[in-house]
Amino acid sequence: MKTFDVEVRVWLKPSVFDPQGHAVEQALHTLGFDGAQNVRIGKYMHLTVTGESEEEARKSVEQMCERVLSNPVMETYAYELKETGV
């Protein structure tokens, strides 16, 4: 059994309005960070998973992303995975 470090990022699909990103962008402008644009805020998740192989671990992470970690109606995800301690 191997253990893998996984980082998942989940964000709203581009067509979905992100009120939080919008409000934060406005706030950044007020504070003088005029160059900040297109702010979108999503989730960043860190976890460890176990699996016989990297392939198996990837499969399970993908399932988790689709079923629990993201809401496919409005979100998209991406993840990175690497074996721990290697």
């Binding site: 009120p19 939080q20 409000a23 934060v24 706030a27 007020t30 504070l31 805020i41």
Partner: protein, 230 residues
């Protein structure tokens, strides 16, 4: 004495706080827009509850950059009384006028109900009308009220008598059951429960009145003292 209630975009307990002050003390209250740069005309300032800037990013994180919060900082240094209720408490921790932070409730839900508080300090300008150890009924209404601070900070708060109120039965997982804390100078109080919702009998409790009355008494005594010395 004269009170200010600062209104941030998204504040929603501003009128409630003003109503409570008028009812409990009979004093004059102004609602002051967040772009105010000078609050020196006021004897006490309330940062009210609500969702300033939608609580986006972190509650209180954006409001703390308002000109009014800079003005509050100056008045705190002058020894004026500043009361942050719920979102106001969050603004005070975000602006480091109070230590710690308020995180999402441990059960992840917004929670609104009457809770029992224990008065842990009755010598501050905010709590002198209560008995030490008294149990009072004040409602809460928050999703991010779990007080967090590192152990040294919490020990410091305890040793310096700066924990003003504790929950009898914590509704959010706060460290040391903290519901409200005092600032270093004792003239800033942040608390998650809403004393302005415990003013009239029909609200189910009138225990919030004495908080505003404590502040009134403290300020009036100070003003009388100043007049006598003048």
């Amino acid at each position: 004495m004269k009170w200010a209630v600062v209104v941030f975009p998204g504040s929603n307990c501003d009128e409630d706080a003003a109503q409570a002050v008028r009812e409990a003390t009979g004093d004059a209250v102004d609602l002051v827009w967040h772009d105010a740069t000078d609050l020196s005309a006021y004897d006490a300032i309330i940062l009210p509850g609500g969702f300033s800037y939608g609580d986006y990013l972190r509650s209180g994180a954006i409001a703390r950059f308002s000109p009014a919060v800079e003005a509050v900082r100056r008045e705190v240094a002058e020894g004026k009384l500043v009361l942050g209720i719920c979102n106001g408490f969050q603004v005070l921790t975000e602006s480091h006028l109070l230590p710690g932070a308020l995180l999402r409730n441990n059960h992840l839900q917004f929670r609104c109900e009457m809770v029992e508080l224990i008065v842990d300090n009755n010598t501050s300008p905010f709590t002198r009308a209560y008995q030490l150890g008294e149990r009072i009924q004040i409602p809460i209404a928050h999703g991010e009220g779990r007080f967090h601070a590192d152990p040294e900070t919490v020990a410091g708060l305890r040793n310096e008598g700066r924990i003003a109120f504790r929950y009898a039965d914590s509704p959010n997982g706060s460290v040391a059951d903290i519901a409200g804390i005092l600032g270093e100078g004792g003239n800033v109080l942040g608390l998650m429960p809403h004393p302005e919702r415990a003013i009239f009998d029909w609200m189910g409790s009138v225990d919030g009145r004495r908080l505003f009355q404590s502040m009134h008494q403290y300020v009036e005594e100070g003003l009388a003292h100043a007049r006598a010395n003048a």
